[in-house]
């Protein structure tokens, strides 16, 4: 199994690509303005276990997949 940190890196890369795509759509809709990213808030959905006997890693009830998620909240300005 891959390390959880590696999974989070891949998830972050995918979230960033998704965000850039949506930012380009927003910029395209306002061609007379320049879009600038002001701040980025990274939030990793918690991987820690509420059940103490289990380790602090992402878990799944499925035998074939483990899911991890990150959330990027991006503030932008149209100037």
């Amino acid at each position: 199994m891959r390390e959880a940190s590696e999974l989070y890196e891949v998830a972050t890369a995918k979230a960033w690509i998704d965000a850039e795509m949506r930012l380009s759509e927003i910029a395209a809709a306002a061609p007379d303005k320049k879009l600038e990213i002001v701040s980025v808030h990274y939030d990793r959905l918690p991987g820690e276990s509420l059940i103490e006997e289990l380790p602090d890693e992402p878990k799944s009830s499925r035998p074939d997949a483990v899911e991890v998620a990150v959330r990027l909240r991006i503030r932008y300005a149209l100037r």
């Binding site: 972050t12 002001v38 980025v40 074939d64 899911e67 991890v68 909240r73 991006i74 932008y76």
Partner: protein
Amino acid sequence: MQRLILGLFSFLIGLAAQSDLRPAIQVSSAGKAVAKPDLAIAFLQVRSSAPLANDALEQNKKKVAEVKAKLVSLGYKDEQIRFTGNRFSPTGQGMYYPGGQRPTGFDVYNNLYVTLDASDLKSIDGFNTKLGTLLDELSKIGAQTINMPISSISMGGASVVAFTVRDAAAYEKKAYQDAMDKARPIADDIAKRMKVAITGIESVNIAQQGRQQMYGGPANPLDELPYEYLSSSIDEVPVRVRLDVRYSYK
């Protein structure tokens, strides 16, 4: 090799508000330190029922006195025994609403916390024997074990004992440092994608810590206890902190 599914969310928030315009990369990060418990707490209750509230109260006062005497005879000191005071409730465990079924009497109950200290925790077998004796002797004279919220966290089902540390400050510092150490590489990664450089830490907010994190706020019975971190494991007490670290960049 397991197939891996990567879930992701991204949200774009337009700049409607002007209050948060400073450029920043904010990372929510969690840190953890593991403490060796130096205190165990057994959760018990003394409860009495009667058609009249005062009768239930008198019965419970007597039971409490018996339980106190038994604890002293078992060698427990005053500082190890904590009763939370008598409380009144309708008889039984049901919910009663106006116009519906009426309770037939009153329960009076008094929660009891018995603490066992570091010397009792040196040997797991010794601790378990001492705890077993405590539970057996008190249940013989009417004290009941109660399932506190900590119980549901263990896979083994209801646990009537929790472990904690008297002074968690050093572990909180370690957990804080752990969270800070985890946050920086993430911030660097985001900065690289933005093609900017981090210039420093603008602010650090503690988002969640201790009991607030585990149980969601002050309205839980464990607020009767002064300990922030509780575990069902005799080996370790996890001390967790969640931070929002805000980095400036240019």
